[in-house]
């Protein structure tokens, strides 16, 4: 297999109505002399839901930095208005939990067509760090879930401290991690504040369990053991902070009940249920590690979030998570440190500037240099495999919807559908074998079981043979009721090349990886094309597409 810049696993082609307003690049540094198509594809698979030929041309014209700057200016494409619009068509008494399917539909529409691709891709990463899931009580809160996702999208390029506050006060998070309705202690009844949000905000969203060096490595004590960032007393301290909050606009804490309106508004504090004693916070150099008694709920919350936000772990913690979601599972410590420094100070003295962090992640030499290492890049997660294939082949349906009713059942992953707050996969997951043995991780392998890999392979088979604009003769009829929403791909360009097997294989490679395939994959795909009669053009395309799109090198993000 060739390990060169030209060999890039990506998706491309079939660019779809992305507006391309070419503004003059306000760059501090000029774009690199030349960006190859393969370079552009690799970049776009880190920064969007899948490279397309049109977007690659944009990148080549603008350069990476100007392309990013342009993306940073694009307003957020939002989900909630769509969900509200669909709900307006519901008859009284209809099952509104079905709105989650419309939420997934609009998520897929944005992934495929929204102009704010970078913002959407970062929001997707954030949705897997600060996790809520409809697989919970939130099944009854489709508006809240859409609103939460929109909040992530709107904060994707903002300040991390504001993101923390918006996440904390969002009622969907409040329901999911039970800060909503958290009450002050009632000693007579052995009632103490709920520790759920207190624990997970620190463990999973911001600082993690153990102290980190700036480069993301774990600090150890004199005995060589990791140093915990907090203990049970501190969890309890924060649990007391997060008391008194529930739905906004109620006459009292006890009287607050969920409505369509208040699940999309920040929670409100009701002082009658707020614990007013002193509270222990995180300790670190320069920290104010105690909250004094007698403050308001809002004052306590501000102090607590400041205390977490300024913990030295947050920079390396968030740097590592975002790099893993966007670029590579195993960044070098130096890469993590460069991004953590950017988090700590964006160059203008500001901490937590996410736009600067995202830009630094994507412009870093480790992200931009063509990979030569066997540990570079990462495995694509199921949803990104899907959106990249769909974008490369301009997937669409007659109805205009992407109505995949049970997307987790289809491919093992869906937006805001994680099994728990620990997401679909852990950042520390190491499959047994060479990855674990070398001390590496491959988080996405946790959702690459035998079962899920065969599901995906079968989906590719169905897409290649039957769900195309030119199904192979013999494909079973789609029931009429399902026809309008059936998502099909456009392989008509390839069909015209069916008489020339090598050209056909190369055309698919160009769309899916932006360059040549490994020689084995190319040879095998070509031989299957040749096995099909030349007159069977649809079959020839399907054979090649199936073998290529399901291959390991296409599951790899370079």
């Amino acid at each position: 297999m060739v390990l060169a810049a030209a060999f890039v696993v990506a998706c491309g082609g079939g660019g779809h109505n992305d507006p391309a307003p070419v503004t003059p690049p306000p760059t501090q540094q000029p774009p690199p002399a030349t960006i190859s198509k393969a370079d552009a594809y690799r970049f776009l698979n880190q920064a969007t839901f899948g490279a397309t030929a049109a977007e690659a041309q944009n990148v080549i014209t603008l350069g990476y930095e100007a392309w990013i700057d342009q993306q940073l200016q694009r307003p957020a494409s939002l989900e909630l208005p769509h969900v509200q619009q669909v709900f307006a068509t519901y008859p009284p008494g209809a099952d509104f939990t079905k709105l989650h399917e419309d939420r997934v539909d609009i998520w897929l529409r944005h992934a495929l067509h929204a102009p704010d691709q970078l913002r959407q891709r970062v929001a997707f990463a954030l949705s897997q760090i600060m996790v809520i899931s409809q697989s919970s009580a939130l099944v009854g809160y489709p508006w809240g879930c859409a609103s939460y996702y929109d909040m992530l999208t709107q904060n994707a390029f903002g300040n991390f401290r504001e993101l923390m506050e918006n996440v904390t006060l969002h009622p969907a998070m409040g329901v999911y991690l039970s800060m909503l309705g958290n009450q002050k202690p009632d000693v007579a009844h052995n009632i103490r504040p709920d520790e759920n949000y207190a624990r997970e905000l620190m463990q999973l969203f911001t600082v993690g369990l153990v102290e980190l060096n700036l480069d993301g490595s774990v600090k150890t004590d004199s005995a060589g053991q990791p140093i915990p960032t907090y203990d049970q007393d501190i969890v309890q301290g924060f649990a007391h902070v997060y008391t008194g909050w529930t739905y906004s606009g109620a006459p009292s804490f006890a009287a607050a009940i969920p409505t369509i309106a208040n699940q999309i508004r920040p929670m409100q504090a009701y002082s009658e249920q707020h614990a007013t004693g002193t509270k222990r916070m995180l300790s670190y150099a320069g920290a104010v590690s105690t909250i004094p008694a007698g403050q308001t709920p809002e004052q306590d919350l501000d102090a607590a979030l400041d205390n977490i936000f300024n913990h030295p772990n947050v920079g390396p913690f968030i740097a590592q998570r975002l790099i893993q979601h966007l670029v590579t599972s195993n960044p070098s410590p130096q890469y993590v440190e460069r991004i953590a420094r950017k988090f700590n100070d964006d160059g203008a003295g500001k901490r937590g500037n996410l736009a600067a962090v995202i830009k630094a992640i994507l412009l870093d030499a480790e992200a931009r240099t063509a990979p030569a290492s066997a540990t570079a890049g990462k495995l694509k997660e199921p949803l990104l495999r899907l959106t990249q294939l769909w974008r490369a082949y301009d997937a669409s349906s007659q109805s205009g919807k992407y109505n995949v009713q049970n997307i987790t059942g289809l491919i093992g992953q869906g937006p805001l559908q994680a099994p728990s707050v620990f997401n679909f996969f852990s950042p520390f997951y190491a499959p047994p074998g060479e990855i674990a043995n070398q001390g590496l991780v491959a988080p996405e392998m946790q959702v690459t079981t035998e079962y899920l890999s065969s599901l995906w392979t079968d989906y590719v088979f169905a897409l290649a043979f039957c769900y195309t604009t030119m199904p192979v003769q013999g494909c079973p009829a789609v029931p009429p009721a399902l026809q309008p929403d059936l998502v099909t791909i456009d392989a008509s360009a390839e069909r015209a090349m069916a008489a020339n097997p090598q050209a056909l294989v190369d055309a698919i490679a160009d769309k899916l990886v932006g360059g040549p395939l490994s020689s084995t994959l190319s040879t095998e795909a070509k031989s299957m094309v040749e096995r099909a009669p030349a007159s069977e053009t649809a079959l020839r395309v399907a054979e090649a597409l199936y073998l290529i799109a399901s291959a390991p090198e296409v599951a790899q993000q370079r």
């Binding site: 009844h189 620990f422 047994p432 590496l440 059936l486």
Partner: protein, 466 residues
Amino acid sequence: MDNFNRRRFLKCAAAGGLAYAFGRTPQAVSAATISSSAAFADYKALVCVFLFGGNDSFNMVVPRSAAEYGVYAASRQNLAIAQASLLPINSLVPDPNGALYGLHPSMSELATLFEQDEKCAIVANLGPLIEPTTKAQYQAKATHLPPQLFSHNDQQDQWHALKGEATLKSGWGGRIADALLAPGAATPLTQSLAVNLSLSGQTLFQAGVTSVPYTMGATGPVPFFGLEGADAYTLARRAAFERILSANHATVYERAYATVQQRALQGAARINDALASVRSPNAVPFATAFPTTPLGQQLKTVAELIATRDQLEVSRQIFFVAIGGFDTHDAQTQDQPQLLGNLSSCLAAFYRATVELGIAAGVTTFTQSDFGRTLTSNGDGTDHAWGGNQLVIGGAVAGRTLYGRYPLLQIDGPDDVGGGRMIPTTSSDQYAATLARWFGVADSALTSVAPHLGNFTAANLGFLQT
């Protein structure tokens, strides 16, 4: 054209779960590739039922005698189960202090299994420990403790891997398979199908140092639509697909992905063929009806797989099934009856099915969960704690008995490290070793399964007859 039978392979083509389903072609290339033989003369299965989130098991097994219930009720306040509603159980080994226990009122099937069948045992207040630990030692930090107590993933990993302070990448289910498959094992196991089978995703529990688990869905593996026909055309496609997988790949991620696809391809048809043989209407191996819940479906598939043990030529299997929802920070009183009721009916159905299969004495089902929960309340729910009660069911279980010491459920009492978090009085290592020993792991190899076993007095808790 003979070398490509388009119509036939397309019969199993489409859908892929999108909208409309398909069967696969009946004549599949399958078991032919792998031969299998097993050295054990008997068949045994361990079935791990993992309750994700942390089961509030002090509401599952509750003291009902007056004095002990009084302590319980005073601690649990508005989360206490009413004394009169508890389903009485009577251990064959009486409590030295006369304490009596009952099950949560939603668990009638389990109460029957305990009281009448005597095939259910309770192991009290289990949890990860590195060494026996008292409250004084805990408070003085004078003992080694599993790191990150009360954190979900860390304590799941403790249960899965028994890793203590080490950074183990293997689980004890995987290490049992390693021990049995080791060339030097007393009774070396040579079956070709994976010992560890998961119906609920990847789990550290089943990762071996050398052995590799196989993961399927709740109803079994998914067939490869495009690759399982026996006609020359499909065989050519499959051969091409396999050569692509076995090529030299550029990255560790591609190699890992290819390896999983290879395993899937090898296992899917073989297991599906076996399952098909017990799913045709005239070949159904048991009449027991399973609850139509995710756990019920998983356990039904496990029972069907066990029914095909001869066809699959296996003598030792470890199954992993799981359900979530036990992280009851909220609405515990509303949710717990459903959670525990489902558990009870599923476990009982599974046991009944193994009786019908004539294999009950060879199948042991056991529960695990992240941790127990606080005896104190956060208003309408509970938070993360430590020790908890677990269930063991099967024909080989010395049942109708409560094993281990049930703790004193008193806030700030001798077993509480704060907020009603019980220090485990029996370790997960002891539990695992007892199960492993029954399964066939030699005594000399038990510490490879349960690394801290030597720190505890009893290596065998006695709940399994051998």
